[in-house]
Symmetry: C2
Subunit: 452 residues, 2 copies
């Protein structure tokens, strides 16, 4: 096979593979979408090598799919066409911490936890936490967010500059080190969330934050999802600078209790976190207490020490695993939409009805400050009826979101799973997106048939 | 003239003008760049009418330049080619305030002060304040920012959705009402800052904020610009959530004193503002006091009441007018760059040297929390030597910024004034921008020869 030989010449021979196990590892992500084997997997060590790989893909009219740790949830990295998968695990260095500029420069294969460990030495942290220990390159590719977006913003907000290998193998920088710019078109924004369809990221410069002086977490139990959502709206309206506010429905709390050995009341629950100085936090917390009790909160418990706080967030973060653990042999279908927050209570109620109607086990968890929520459905992937039931739920919640000004995905990205909703969501704007793709990747070399 | 007739048919006759005075009013912005008359000025009342105008521009192979109040500073709206100027002053309605969603939907001709007046009724405010009472459409077009960006972000961060008339007259929406999305490419980002070269904005959905419970302002005097900048870095590193932090050099304070009848010490000065709850603010303020005195602050004065605070910000906001007032007969050339904050002290020092060398009167003011600063130079626009001197200063500070990872404009946009630096700043990424322009406006109908 001539392609493989040329790849081996461009990289070292041992960083190019068509070994069955390696191909199989790069044929899937964490979603329920059907795996597909690539032609080859390469492990580049530099932008130059990535550029060589893309040029060879052009030469051999094959395609390129960038790959982090494969934690995507919509088939975003599955190589459905003849593809070379570019695994970034060897490009995993934190290159520079610019303390005074609150910036860090990393290679795309650096994982979130690896970065945070490094930043801790400087009293800094990286704010985006999607749950999975994803790579920063992957997080930028899907525009990940997670629990802290309500205060610190999403992945797109953190990207100051990307080094990108384009479809023709040329290398560009999309931004600068300046905190803001009105110079030229916003390439940072368009490349973040492009899921490898416009280029391969080979370096990222990201915004980081000082670790807050004080952190306090809380868990508030409610009788209904409506009350919980109304409480969050009131907290935001009061200007309380909340750093995290997560919703779990009764079913999800039940799974958490079972998995994390907690004994939380099995009712709709908010998990909250506050960042600030000691005095300010105290006042925020008192104010929040008043607000939640005004909205029929049953009780609220604060965690002031690090251990209690970690226990609380571990339980929340493990919600997805709790479901998997509680349903052996089944696979999880996670779907994700985002609605204007005023529509969230109605959306969650409607989603619960859809889950009940499907007969599948499933729960709802959400980043309620953003109006973003997930449904975790447990399905037997070998049973077409289960898949069909899950698809019906998916259609229903996406439809509910889109007819209320929402979006079909708040943070998981489009991949293959949400492509069918693009026309409905974007209307004639989809043609604009297609023109941009066509202009930057006319031959469709980059992650084909994804997003648009 | 057939075009004029067809425009008059598409709009009402009295909303299409080729009156000399009207043309002259739309031939310029607030910059020193040479004015140029358009062919006609139209005053549309709807997206449909804007679409008709764009279609006629295509038919008559002329071009379209969108116009707010003409407060741009780099010739962004000057119609240098045969053009129809689209004046949005009749599209000036606040269409909807979605309190619970922290969103407002406005027409592009709404001005910043008009919006804030409306939002006050709901206990909300719009965060971006570029100084001038610009239109929201114009602010989105140049990706404006201003004093509050350090806490609330820039214009691009506030845009949730745009209704845009494209080069072929078709109408799209670039976003949704959801707080975040990973669906499709980020069109909000690419259209914000495109300065009318990719489309005309006919409606904007913007993020708004609850008015903070407490606000406190302060003025801190330093011996040197370095000390002032180091103090700001230390405040940011300490995680104090500062809402505004502005730097004015000694020369600018002198002009302010003269114009605003203040008696501020004529030394490098920081203007600060803190937003938060009462207890938190108190602690922030104490902490800030410690930090600034550690960095050789001469003295710091706090303004706790609204009147004192307004006086302070009025003085700062009037800095540009103070210079104009102090130099009758001259025009102001304002230039704007942004550097990584660690490079700011050096940049300001170098800029001061360049101003001294030029022999022109001029001062430096800056949004120091973002590393963004402006030079205000007083020039005689009829004296080619003055223009040349100002250009030399401009080249010098842009060059300093670009060689240190900065950008040639932090918030004023490219217009015609900063086009010559695009190649140097963006390198091969400029070709990507050009491909996007080519894909979306192949015939160059929209604000020609601007940005790229």
């Amino acid at each position: 096979m001539k392609l493989l030989e040329e790849l081996q010449q461009a990289l070292d021979a041992d960083r190019v593979s068509d070994n069955e196990t390696i191909l199989e590892q790069h044929s899937k992500d964490e979603s329920y979408h059907t795996p597909h084997l690539p032609e080859a997997v390469v492990f580049p060590e530099s932008a130059r090598e990535v550029s060589e790989v893309v040029k060879l893909a052009n030469k051999y009219t094959t395609t390129v799919v960038p790959f982090g740790v494969g934690s995507s949830l919509e088939g975003n990295v599955i190589p459905y066409k003849s593809s070379i998968v570019v695994d970034f695990s060897l490009m995993n260095k934190v290159l520079e911490v610019r303390e005074k500029d609150f910036l860090v420069r990393v290679q795309p294969g650096v994982t979130r936890s690896q970065l945070d460990k490094e930043l801790k030495k400087y009293g800094l942290f990286f704010s985006v936490d999607p749950g999975a220990d994803a790579t920063l390159g992957g997080m930028a590719a899907t525009n990940a967010s997670g629990t802290t977006a309500v205060k610190y913003g999403i992945m797109r907000d953190q990207v100051r500059d990307l080094e990108v290998v384009l479809a023709d193998g040329s290398i560009i920088h999309t931004g600068s080190l300046a905190a803001k710019s009105s110079s030229g078109y916003d390439l940072n924004g368009i490349f973040v969330g492009s899921e490898g369809t416009l280029g391969c990221f080979t370096e990222l410069t990201l915004k980081v934050y000082g670790i807050p002086e004080h952190i306090m977490a809380a868990r508030a139990s409610f009788t209904s999802v409506e009350d919980a959502v109304e409480a969050v709206i009131a907290i935001l309206q009061a200007g309380v600078p909340i750093a995290r506010v997560e919703l779990a429905d009764a079913q999800s709390i039940k799974q958490m209790n079972h998995f994390s050995d907690t004994d939380y009341k099995e009712v709709p629950t908010l998990f909250l976190e506050f960042h600030g100085n000691e005095a300010g936090l105290k006042q925020d917390v008192e104010f929040t207490r008043e607000i939640v009790f005004d909205r029929n909160c049953q009780d609220i418990e604060f965690e002031t020490d690090t251990a209690g706080r970690n226990r609380l967030w571990e339980a929340r973060h493990n919600a997805a695993y709790a479901y998997i653990h509680g349903h052996p042999g089944k696979k999880q279908m996670v779907t994700d939409v985002c609605v204007p927050i005023s529509e969230l209570a109605g959306a969650v109620k409607d989603a619960r009805k859809a889950v009940e109607k499907s007969g599948l086990a499933g729960g709802i968890v959400g980043h309620v400050g953003d109006g973003n929520y997930h449904i975790l459905l447990m399905i037997d992937v070998n049973d077409p009826k289960d898949i069909e039931k899950a698809n019906v739920v998916n259609e229903q919640i996406v439809d509910y979101a889109l007819t209320r000004g929402g979006t079909c995905t708040g943070e998981h990205g489009v991949g293959v799973g949400k492509r069918k909703y693009q026309e409905k969501e974007h209307g004639p704007a989809l043609a604009v997106m297609r023109k941009i793709k066509q202009a930057l990747d006319p031959d469709g070399v980059l992650n084909p048939d994804k997003v648009i």
